[in-house]
Amino acid sequence: MTLRIPQDVAAGLLLMAIGGFFLWWGWDYPVGRGWRVGPGWMPHAVCIVLLALGALIALRGARAQGRRIAIAMPPPVALWWVVVATMSFVAIERLGLAVTAFVAAVLASLPSPDFRWRDSLVFASVLTVFCVALFVYGLKQPLPVWPQ
């Protein structure tokens, strides 16, 4: 994946955005007076430094425009399916470990270039049995196993 803007400019802008947002959100946190440092003092200081460092990084990145850096990104499908698989695990409260582990394992193997339904289903079943045996019966973790 390639980005139009240089990597460091994007990095600097992201850091400035986070610093700026937190500063704005915590603007009225009490800073304290004199030696009684209030709960707002550190956040303000850290946000201001973050804004300054972000600006420096972005400026230096913009100046060094000559050399473009290829950004090594994992394939977006991998990102997407891993996030979906993790979120699907939220269903454990209702559906129990046996179902969620199986579903998450299948979802997470979808982005593989060698994905085959049969292999993946067999693998997910084995993994599910292993997880239930190890975590619920072996390690006695408090996990629901079956759908409620």
């Binding site: 994946m1 990597q7 460091d8 994007a10 990095a11 992201l14 986070i18 610093g19 915590g26 946190y29 009490p30 004199g34 030696w35 440092v37 209030g38 709960p39 707002g40 550190m42 956040p43 850290v46 430094v49 973050l50 460092l53 972000g54 990084i57 850096i69 950004i71 990104m73 994992p74 394939p75 499908v77 991998a78 990102l79 891993v82 698989a85 993790t86 695990f89 939220v90 454990i92 409260e93 470990l97 998450a104 394992a105 299948v106 997470a108 193997s109 982005p111 593989s112 060698d114 994905f115 693998f123 997910a124 993994l127 997880c131 975590f135 390690l139 006695k140 973790q141 408090p142 996990l143």
Partner: protein
């Protein structure tokens, strides 16, 4: 002094030799070797993944197992580096250069042997350094108060930035970003709520587990799940395990030098196994009579870095156990493990809980012995594991991550938080922003703020206190010296050259 050492080691042996703790040690060493062998899964990922399951082991068992994973990975990483030319673990990156050449020349057996024996020697030496200097340092640090702690943590963060790989500017920014995330939640001094954004789960702060599992576990899954296995993995002829006389003559001094380098660099904040291995390889190349041999199967190029990464791994426990200061990301996870067990890391640990400190020390001696047995005779088994397809391995890791998060909290919100940090980690990596300084800032942030504010209360707001107390002054002077060093261009060039190699 020697007698107290014996007494202490005996105390530790009593703790470490119980069946449960021996099993914890064995499990840690086996897991460490396993993930050390597998490329793409490092000790950071594994420790993050296993943190939730060490809850029930008790403080000592948990630390023994997690430590075993760290130094076990240093052993396992060399196997893949030598046989497949892929670093199983970051600290084994330089071992590939000469180790793989040795394997091509049919000397893989010798390379594996020297890597394992060098690691054994270095591991035991490093453990004794920990046993001798740990208590002395802790004794010194017991007198530390808020201003000293604040100065110490500042020094720790600054040197972590200086020694970090890549841009100093970006690493500093990541420390501050970590500090900012550490502030989310209720302020412990005033009870004031900061940056909760109306989300009830954030009132207690960002939870440590989803943060590390997201940043270090799930991001690795994302990076590797769609990657095909290296097909170049062919069954290598391992050859005789014994070293020739000539090889032994060359390797022995290299092991000693590597061990010494690791024992020094491992203590430094930002140091640890990776830095030690790189430095040891460079030193060998510098002092060799014929540097051209390096890259063509010089046994010193295996012996030195493999010894250095293991002694470095061992001594990086010193700042953690004596000062409560994590020197690298793994130690930051260890702090998390200690806090989860209700132990406040700091100099009091050695004095108030000698069984914990000495139990861990003795377990390291046992673990290093176990690892030689686990690694050398069983090397064929580990190599076969390299054929585990990524499309099965990484989905399994994802499921373990999810179970770990849910089992400790019974809260599905933390799963969503982990997914958020996985995406965040990928974005940061794409922008070449290192997450290790972020983690150190996140862990140290609340402690630093607390100590700063307490120092301010002691002195009624007079910052001169940092210059009046001798230890503070010394620490602050070191911090300033480090900052100056980074800014001086000559040193910066040297540093860039060092990381380029």
């Amino acid at each position: 002094m020697i007698e107290t050492l014996y007494a202490n080691l005996a105390l530790g042996a009593g703790q470490a030799l119980t069946l449960g703790n021996l099993l914890a040690c064995l499990a840690g060493c086996l897991l460490g070797t396993l993930i050390g062998v597998l490329p793409g899964v490092g000790p950071l990922t594994t420790i993050a993944l296993l943190l939730p399951f060490t809850y029930d082991l008790g403080p000592l068992g948990a630390l023994i197992m997690l430590a075993g994973i760290y130094y076990g990975a240093q052993y396992g990483g060399s196997t893949t580096a030598i046989l497949v030319n892929v670093p199983g673990e970051t600290a084994s990156l330089v071992t590939c250069i000469d180790g793989y050449r040795m394997a091509q020349d049919g000397r893989a057996g010798a390379a594996l042997t020297i890597a394992a024996l060098g690691s054994l020697f270095a591991g035991i030496f490093g453990t004794f350094v920990l046993a001798l200097f740990g208590p002395v340092l802790a004794e010194l640090a017991v007198r530390f108060q808020a201003p000293e702690y604040f100065s110490l943590m500042t020094l720790g963060l600054v040197s972590a930035v200086v020694l970090a790989n890549g841009s100093v500017l970006k690493a500093s920014a990541m420390v501050f970003l970590g500090l900012l995330f550490g502030m989310i939640g209720t302020d412990s001094n005033s009870g004031f709520q900061r940056f909760a954004f109306g989300v009830p789960q954030l009132v207690d702060g960002v939870d440590f587990l989803p943060l590390v599992i997201g940043l270090f576990g799930l991001t690795e899954v994302i990076r590797n799940v769609a990657r095909r296995n290296d097909t170049s993995i062919v069954s290598q002829r391992i050859g005789r395990l014994m070293l020739t006389r000539e090889e032994a003559r060359r390797a022995l001094p290299a092991v000693l030098r590597g061990t010494a380098i690791g024992s020094v660099l491992g203590i430094l904040p930002g140091g640890g196994a990776v830095l030690s291995a790189f430095a040891a390889y460079m030193v060998e190349k510098k002092i060799a009579r014929d540097p051209a041999r390096f890259g063509r199967g010089a046994i010193e190029g295996v012996a030195a870095p493999e010894s250095a990464n293991n002694s470095g791994a061992q001594v990086s426990f010193i700042p953690l156990l004596t000062l409560g200061l994590p020197s690298n990301a793994i130690m930051a996870l260890m702090i998390g493990a200690m806090m989860m067990q209700g132990i406040q890391p700091g100099p009091e640990v050695v004095r108030n809980d000698p069984a914990l400190f000495w139990g861990l020390v003795v377990s390291m001696l046992i673990g290093n012995l176990m690892l030689v047995v686990i690694n050398l005779p069983l090397v064929g088994l580990w190599v076969r594991l390299l054929r585990t397809p990524n499309r099965f391995l990484f989905p399994a890791i994802l499921v373990f991550c999810c179970i770990g998060i849910y089992a400790t909290s019974s809260s599905t919100n933390l799963l969503l938080m982990a997914a958020f940090f996985a995406v965040f980690g990928i974005v940061l990596a794409a922008l070449d922003l290192d997450v290790v300084p972020f983690l150190l800032g996140f862990v140290l942030g609340p402690l630093m703020e607390d100590n700063l504010r307490r120092a301010m209360v002691i002195t009624r707001g007079d910052p001169v206190i940092f210059l009046q107390r001798p230890i503070c002054l010394g620490l602050m002077a070191m911090t300033v010296a480090l900052l100056v060093v980074v800014v001086v261009p000559a040193v910066r060039r040297g540093r860039e050259k060092a990381f380029a190699e």
